[in-house]
């Protein structure tokens, strides 16, 4: 019997949330731009219900801010000192998870990592920024889920969504892929020290 670890069926809410999250993190919206339920419902071809659920979820995650009776708006990313503190928390979580992952990752994990990296490469080549963001999050997330736990992953996510990575610092998108490739290669070869260095470099 075969059980699919990654369920292919996903609710409308989840799909809408994922797509919007990637677009928001890719800076496709202006800060404070309102997200209207009706417009999104039409765009995704569903009723307002699932859209509402997705918007509420993204508000909890930190990508949007919610005001009673006034809907949701795009949440501005953390700035300056705030960002530094949040980033230090994120780094601490990821470095802790990295140790656990390198210690006991199996062939399945190695394959998964390569798969994500491949998708990132394709996204970078196509210059599809939302897809790049998605694969970036997926990679880090995989490390944390496997190296730490689901609970830690949730905390990490609440941080990662609130500090938008500055993709514009890399003039060429393929740089993003290369950075992560170095990280993955270090992990696959079991070199924790080098993996830590690559991760730190990636987190600016």
């Amino acid at each position: 019997m075969m059980k699919n670890a990654a369920p292919t069926i996903r609710s409308a809410r989840e799909q809408i949330a994922d797509q919007l999250r990637n677009e928001i993190l890719a800076d496709l919206f202006c800060d404070d731009e309102p997200m209207r339920e009706a417009a999104l419902a039409e765009r995704f071809g569903v009723s307002r219900g699932p859209v509402r659920d997705a918007l509420l979820q993204l508000s909890q995650e930190g990508a949007l801010t919610y005001k009673p009776n006034r809907g949701v708006r795009v949440n501005a990313p953390a700035a300056n000192g705030e960002r530094d503190f949040m980033m230090s928390l994120r780094a601490r979580i990821e470095l802790e998870a990295l140790r656990g992952f390198v210690r006991d990752c199996d062939d399945r994990d190695r394959e998964a990592l390569r798969g994500i990296l491949d998708r990132m490469k394709a996204a970078c080549r196509a210059k599809d920024v939302p897809a790049i963001v998605g694969s970036d999050l997926a990679l880090h997330r995989y490390l944390i889920r496997r190296g730490a736990s689901e609970k830690v992953e949730a905390v990490w996510k609440s941080i990662a969504v609130r500090i938008r990575m500055d993709y514009s610092r890399l003039t060429k998108y393929m740089e993003i892929h290369r950075e992560h490739e170095q990280l993955v290669e270090a992990i696959l070869s079991g070199d924790l020290k080098q993996a830590r260095a690559a991760l730190k470099a990636n987190l600016i």
Copy 2:
């Protein structure tokens, strides 16, 4: 002109979420106990819509876990090593916020702190565990919001909900009040060092 910093009007979703959160954190439910939408809707006298929203929010926060088409169940708190790591993150956030709060808190803040402490005292006296939990969260939360920022507050919350404080370690509920009273007194007298010590003691 007067603007109310704390809006008195709160949506049904928010009220339901707050009440359920306190009850969950007060261990009024068994781990993994399912939360049925219909039953809760009847209990709160509303339709399933707002209940659904509240359950989704609490799932995002970490108090509940959500499974597609199978509803939500109460999430077991982090255990052992996982808990230690999460607690170290929480302590780091709170200690950082404490510094900022002691530095620039005004009379308004001092009054708010005393108010929360009074409510905690009443709750402890009445042995109303959900209310104790609520005031406990409110106190820490106020420190963080004012000492750091709303974004940090959100991250802190995602941690705090996932590690349930063990209230049973204090045989007498008034102990909980005393612990926090010491913390507040240290803050009000501007003694950062003593405040840090009190906070560390509180966080076990």
